[in-house]
C-alpha cells in the first residue's frame, strides 16, 4: 500500500498544500516528490504562480472611502444603547442651570420676606423629608396588607418545599447575574466623545 502511494504522482491538492505552505506531505508522498522530476516540475510551476499572485499589491480606494461608507451606514442601536450613548451634556447643563436659578430665586424670595431664620427653614425641610419617607414606608406596608399580597406571600413562602425554595433562589440568582452582566456590558459601551472617526 505504502509502496503504491510512493509510486503515484502527487494530486493537485497535495502540490498546492506544499506550494502554498499550508501543510506538509506524509513521508511516502515526500519521498515520491523527491524522486519524481514531473512532480517537482509541477510543484515549481505552481510555486512560481503562487508567488506571483500572492505578491500582487492591493489596489487602494480613494482616501475618502471609509467616510463615504460610514456616511451611508445605519448601525441599528437598541433604545437603551441610544439612551446610554447619547450626549447628555447639553441636557444636564441646561437642567443644572435651571435648577440653580430656581434655587437662587426661591432663597432670595424667602429671605427678603424677613423674619425667616435659616435654622427654622432647615428644620422644616428635614421634618418634611422624614414625614415623606415614613409615609412612603407605611404606605407600601399598608398596600401589601390591604391588598392581601403580604399575607399571601408569607403563606406561600411557608408552604414552599425546600426544593421549590432552592429553585426560586436559583432563578433569582440567575436573574441577578444576568442583570449584573447587562450592566457591565452597558458600561463597556463606547463613550460618544470617544466614538469619533478613526481614519483608516
Amino acid at each position: 500500500m505504502n509502496e503504491q502511494r510512493t509510486r503515484q504522482h502527487l494530486e493537485t491538492e497535495e502540490l498546492e498544500r506544499v506550494a502554498m505552505q499550508e501543510g506538509t506531505l506524509p513521508a511516502p508522498r515526500r519521498e515520491h516528490l523527491d524522486g519524481c522530476a514531473r512532480c517537482r516540475r509541477e510543484l515549481a510551476s505552481l510555486e512560481e504562480l503562487h508567488v506571483a499572485l500572492s505578491g500582487l499589491p492591493y489596489h487602494a480606494p480613494s482616501p475618502g472611502f471609509a467616510d463615504a461608507v460610514m456616511s451611508r451606514v445605519d448601525l441599528a442601536k437598541p433604545w437603551y444603547v441610544q439612551l446610554l450613548t447619547r450626549n447628555w451634556t447639553p441636557v444636564a447643563g441646561v437642567s443644572a442651570g435651571a435648577l440653580a436659578l430656581a434655587a437662587i430665586g426661591f432663597w432670595t424670595w424667602l429671605f427678603t420676606r424677613g423674619g425667616v431664620a435659616l435654622e427654622s427653614v432647615l428644620s422644616v425641610a428635614a421634618e418634611w423629608a422624614r414625614t415623606a419617607l415614613w409615609d412612603l414606608v407605611v404606605g407600601a406596608g399598608r398596600i401589601l396588607v390591604d391588598t392581601g399580597i403580604g399575607p399571601t406571600a408569607v403563606e406561600a413562602a411557608q408552604s414552599l418545599t425546600p426544593g421549590a425554595a432552592a429553585a426560586i433562589l436559583a432563578v433569582l440568582a440567575v436573574l441577578g447575574t444576568l442583570a449584573s452582566v447587562t450592566v457591565f456590558k452597558l458600561m463597556e459601551l463606547p463613550v460618544p466623545a470617544l466614538g469619533s472617526a478613526r481614519r483608516s
Partner: protein, 201 residues
C-alpha cells in the same frame, strides 16, 4: 476597548450593537482586499469603488442576518462578489458579450457561452496605467473569465480554502476546483514568456 485586538467576528457583533468604531475598524481591515477583488473583477476604478462601498453598506445594514459562526470576511466577500458579478453579467447582456455562463462547467457549454471581454472598452488612461505599472500578471488575470478571476484571487491572494470560496461564490465545491484549475492553467500559459530562458517549469 482595543478594537485592533478584536477578531472580525467580534467587531461585527459590536457593530450590531451600534458601535461605529468597530465598523470603522472593519472598513480599515477590508477596504483594500475587497476593493482589489472587485476592481480586478470589473476592471474599472470608479465602478469598483462604488461597488465596494455598496458591499460594506449592505453588510453593515444587514448585520442581523450575519451568522457569527461564519467568517465575516467570507460574508463580506460574498456580498462584494455578488455585486461585481451581477454588474459583469448585466454589462455582458447589454453588450451581448458575456465571458461564458457562470455555471458553465463543461467544455462545450463554456465555449458556447464564452466571448472574451479582454480590455475592450477600457479608457486609454487605464490602459496606460496598467502599462506604466508594467504588471503583466494583472493583465493576465484580467483576461480570465470573471468567475475564474474571483476564484483564483480568493485562493492565491486572500488564502481562502476551497470550501470558503465555494460559500463566497455560492458555487459547488467541484466547480470551484475546476475554476481554479483552469484559471491557473490559463495564467501559466499567458505568463510563460516571463520565464527565464531554459526554464522547464
Amino acid at each position: 476597548m482595543d478594537y485592533e485586538a478584536q477578531t472580525d467576528e467580534e467587531l461585527a457583533q459590536l457593530c450590531e450593537g451600534g458601535d461605529e468604531r468597530a465598523a470603522r475598524e472593519l472598513v480599515s481591515r477590508f477596504e483594500r482586499p475587497l476593493f482589489s477583488l472587485i476592481r480586478r473583477t470589473v476592471r474599472d476604478q470608479e465602478l469598483a469603488e462604488d461597488l465596494a462601498q455598496e458591499a460594506f453598506v449592505r453588510a453593515f445594514n444587514h448585520l442581523d442576518s450575519f451568522d457569527p459562526s461564519y467568517q465575516f470576511s467570507s460574508w463580506l466577500f460574498k456580498i462584494g462578489h455578488n455585486l461585481a458579478i451581477d454588474h459583469v453579467r448585466k454589462k455582458g447582456l447589454d453588450t451581448v458579450s458575456i465571458e461564458g455562463a457562470p455555471d458553465a462547467v463543461s467544455q462545450e457549454r463554456q465555449e458556447a457561452t464564452s466571448i472574451t471581454l479582454e480590455a475592450r472598452g477600457e479608457r486609454p488612461d487605464e490602459v496606460a496605467e496598467a502599462r506604466a505599472l508594467g504588471d503583466e500578471i494583472e493583465e493576465a488575470i484580467g483576461e480570465l473569465r470573471p468567475e475564474y478571476r474571483t476564484a483564483v484571487m480568493l485562493r492565491h491572494i486572500e488564502g481562502h480554502s476551497y470550501r470558503e470560496i465555494a460559500e463566497i461564490m455560492d458555487t459547488p465545491l467541484g466547480t470551484v476546483k475546476t475554476y481554479i484549475h483552469r484559471a491557473r492553467g490559463e495564467l501559466q500559459d499567458r505568463l510563460a514568456h516571463l520565464r527565464p530562458e531554459g526554464s522547464e517549469a
